[in-house]
């Protein structure tokens, strides 16, 4: 049960963030931070299906995390789900075409180990 929930959380988080990134890249860089322009951005994002599906996946991840906390300790839940850092870095490289240098891999690895220690 615990590991099934971890798998759901890591999958939903990684897929959700991947889709959100793809959706935002399709939208293009946001330059104008005036309220009127930001309202326009929100209206366009509401019609961006990448972003819409990503929000659903993140909601799945959120509720699965709440469920995990009801059956497992926080000290298990936090480091186990931190695996999504590594999964997302790999997916960003292979599916989004980002250039993940050695420095980025080392940084992501440090963060995962750090999160694991924090949860002890």
């Amino acid at each position: 049960m615990k590991w099934a929930l971890v798998a759901i959380i890591v999958t939903a988080t990684s897929a959700g963030e991947l889709l959100q990134t793809a959706g935002m890249k399709r939208h293009g860089e946001i330059h104008d931070f005036r309220p009127g322009a930001l309202r326009g951005v929100l209206a366009r994002l509401a019609r961006n299906w990448f972003v819409a599906v990503s929000v659903v996946l993140m909601a799945v991840s959120f509720f699965a995390f709440m469920k995990l906390l009801s059956v497992a300790d926080l000290s298990f839940a936090v480091p186990a789900t931190a695996a999504s850092y590594v999964v997302e870095t790999a997916l960003a490289k292979y599916l989004l075409g980002e250039q993940v240098s050695g420095k980025r891999w080392a940084g992501a690895a440090c963060v995962v180990c750090g999160v694991a220690l924090l949860a002890l």
Binding site: Q20, E98, R104, C110, C113, L120
Partner: protein, 140 residues
């Protein structure tokens, strides 16, 4: 004069700081509002909790967190944003220590230090290695 890459780095740092602060403060206020509250099994008790001041403030900050994170992802790489915003874990530890009087073990400080090192490594790389479309569409 600021070079375009320098301008992008500054813009990235400012928006990343908003992402981290909104997340940490949002979770802090949400936790403060929900602490000691008995939530029933009905949806109504959850909805009632949403309208208490601290919870509402927490949720407003978490909405800002989500929108600012999406803004950052409109130009920055996912493999940059995810590790860099993990500095929020460290701020949560510091806030727990300073404002809630929580005991922080040596092992947890070591974890915080590792996260800082990881964030420093990733933030030394260029924020964007994939060119997004130049324009954000209409209203630009």
């Amino acid at each position: 004069m600021t070079r375009p890459s320098g301008r992008l780095r500054i813009k990235t740092r400012i928006v990343a700081s908003i992402v981290v602060l909104a997340n940490v403060l949002g979770n802090f206020f949400l936790g403060r509002g929900l602490k000691g509250k008995v939530l029933g099994s009905t949806a109504l008790s959850y909805i009632e909790a949403l309208f208490t001041p601290w919870v509402a403030l927490g949720i407003a900050l978490l909405i800002i967190w989500m929108l600012s994170r999406m803004t950052l992802l409109s130009w920055a790489d996912l493999s940059y944003v995810v590790p860099v915003t993990a500095i929020g874990y460290v701020l949560s530890v510091v806030m727990g220590k300073c404002f809630l009087g929580e005991e922080v073990s040596l092992l947890r400080w070591a974890g915080a230090l590792l996260i800082v090192a990881g964030v420093a490594l990733v933030s030394a790389t260029p924020p964007s290695t994939v060119r997004p479309k130049h324009s954000g569409g209409g209203g630009e």
